[in-house]
């Protein structure tokens, strides 16, 4: 129970910190000599502009990979926040414009960039760029934007939009003329610039100083490959089983060509890293062409999708589909190396028996662990006697431990599968705080 209160306290604390950052511009406007209002709708519009801008600025913090921020929630929650808060922030910025357009259209002046003041054009462009960011992120696949290109576009638009918006705020100048307000926006700009420098220059430099070399490229079942890499001149990164890292292969870490993958080896091994990757997209289809000796850079580890986060759990339930087994197998391998005999259930779903990742090794792990392994095959062969079809609520009700047992549940697989299973677990009265979810496909 105390863990639930700790989590609730963490959530509330971080939300309060977020609100303080976003609302700081409004608080500062109210200190000192409070200027007389210019009408409710005008000041409401200005407040929306400031808070929308502050929200977009804080977006950088959410995705800056600060472990302290992600630790209470998990990386998937942080990315959902990032997405939905961005939608709200851009909505506020649009409202800022719409209210002015309706109530004070003359104050907007001409839209013609050749005639309008630069700061007004900057504001309009900033809004356009923020909108393009939202559109390209929500509909990346439908727009056929390659993931690497999308990342570059996202970062370029974010930086450009933010700079333009700052130019607009400075240009308008009515609320920033006073020293306190000037220092506030200077402070925001400084934090933002520091973040950019840290994420795009300093951190890649630290990663560049600790390279890895590919030492094995092993084909696995299910169109997957395991890359083994050994540290080149330094100790291998320590991680917790189930965590992931950002992998840059055969290119510089400054080039923004990193991809997140779950670490699949045991955390008890300290001289190498293994990533198991399925051929699914433009980048992952090239994994099989990786050569022994190729250079790699690893930024991590990240995530709280790990059994080590719940050391007091009486047992664990793992439910995975396809390559979602990768982080689960890392946890199973680690528990086996630790001779951890807590009861485990692993429900492993795949389309075909031939595609079951780590199929043989899982049988070996059964002998080393107190593991109940259940394969669910969507298209079973004729002689199949195990579970077939999808992971259903009926199957779960048969194989899962009683809901009052203090187990922790780890889900990793296609979103549709995970959503259905989360609903099923919820119907079994399993608290949401005990269900942990790894997200492979955010964009």
């Amino acid at each position: 129970m105390s863990k639930h209160w700790n989590t609730a306290f963490s959530v509330i604390s971080w939300l309060c910190a977020y609100l303080m950052l976003v609302l700081a511009p409004l608080f500062v406007l109210l200190i000192g000599n409070i200027p007389s209002g210019s009408g409710f709708w005008w000041d409401f519009s200005i407040a929306l502009g400031f808070t929308g801008m502050a929200m977009m600025g804080v977006q950088f913090l959410l995705t800056a990979r600060f472990r302290r921020v992600t630790a209470p929630f998990g990386i998937d929650i942080i990315y959902y926040f990032h997405r939905y808060l961005a939608i709200m922030a851009v909505s506020f910025l649009f409202l800022h414009l719409i209210i002015l357009k309706i109530n004070h259209p003359e104050a907007l002046g001409t839209i013609n960039p050749l005639q309008a003041p630069l700061y007004m054009t900057a504001g309009r462009l900033a809004l356009l760029f923020f909108s393009l960011m939202i559109i390209s992120s929500l509909w990346r696949k439908q727009l056929h934007i390659h993931y690497d290109e999308w990342r570059l576009l996202h970062i370029s638009l974010a930086v450009s939009a933010f700079l333009l918006a700052l130019g607009h705020i400075e240009g308008v100048g009515y609320y920033t003329g006073a020293p306190a307000k000037f220092w506030l926006w200077s402070g925001y700009t400084l934090i933002w610039v520091t973040l950019i420098v840290y994420i795009r220059l300093l951190k890649p430099w630290a990663i560049y100083k600790r390279p890895y070399r590919v030492s094995e490229v092993r084909q696995e079942r299910g169109q997957s490959w395991t890359l083994t890499m050994t540290p080149d001149g330094h100790k291998a990164m320590k991680f917790k089983p189930g965590q992931f890292a950002w992998l840059t292969l055969k290119t510089s870490p400054w080039r923004i060509k990193e991809h997140p993958f779950s670490i699949s080896c045991s955390a008890e091994i300290n001289n190498r890293l293994e990533f198991t990757i399925k051929e699914l997209g433009d980048f992952t289809r090239t994994i099989k062409d990786t050569q022994i000796g190729d250079i790699a850079f690893v930024d991590g580890p990240y995530g709280i999708f790990t059994v080590d986060q719940y050391t007091h759990a009486k047992g664990f339930v793992f439910i995975a589909g396809g390559v979602g087994s990768a982080p689960i197998v890392s946890m199973l391998r680690t528990l086996a190396d630790r001779n951890d005999q807590r009861p485990l259930v692993f429900i492993c779903a795949n389309n075909y028996w031939e595609d079951v990742l780590f199929r043989e090794e899982l049988e070996t792990l059964k002998t080393r662990l107190n593991l109940n392994l259940i394969h669910v095959i969507k298209y079973p062969h004729d002689n199949w006697v195990g579970e077939a079809g999808f992971i259903t609520e009926e199957l779960l009700s048969r194989v899962l431990p009683d809901s009052d047992q203090p187990y922790e549940y780890f889900l990793c697989g296609p979103k549709l599968m995970s959503d259905c299973i989360q609903h099923a677990l919820h119907s079994f009265k399993i608290p949401l705080s005990k269900i942990h979810f790894e997200l492979f496909d955010m964009v």
């Binding site: 609100l19 609302l23 209002g37 005008w42 997405r83 004070h104 609903h423």
Partner: protein, 144 residues
């Protein structure tokens, strides 16, 4: 489920920000009690202009200059434009005072933000005729 909860909390946070923005606007614009004596005093002091045809033409030209210079980006007249710095009462200022304000003369330095002061100096590119027309237009503004 996790996404649903994250979405709910994100939207609730956004709604809270929206409500606090509304509160900010209310704080900035408390309900005002009209001061009847001040209105009477203003009405007694201001002499309404009675322009002849030529003056009417100059005032109309002044309005065009006002529009061309995009003064509404910073000022409002009868609620139209930026309400931050309304010009509805400037008709009571003298020609010299209006000229100082329009051109960003050193006389008014310190009475407005530095940035606004520098922006006004761009109006020094106006011709004498254009400046006069603009000032005639501003002088025509008065309380009803």
């Amino acid at each position: 489920m996790r996404e649903k909860w994250a979405k709910r909390i994100a939207y609730l946070t956004g709604l809270l920000v929206l409500l606090l923005s509304v509160m900010f606007a209310f704080i900035q614009n408390p309900p005002k009690v009209p001061e009847i004596t001040d209105v009477k005093k203003q009405a007694k002091d201001i002499q309404p202009l009675e322009p002849d045809a030529i003056m009417a033409e100059r005032i109309e030209h002044g309005l065009k200059i006002y529009t061309q210079q995009a003064c509404a980006l910073c000022h409002s007249i009868q609620g139209k434009g930026n309400p931050r710095y309304p010009l509805d009462h400037v008709g009571s200022l003298s020609i010299q005072e209006l000229s100082n304000w329009v051109l960003g003369d050193d006389e008014i330095k310190g009475k407005l933000p530095e940035r606004s002061f520098k922006l006004k100096q761009k109006h020094r590119k106006l011709t004498d005729y254009e400046l006069e027309s603009l000032i005639y237009y501003l002088q025509s503004l008065q309380t009803n």
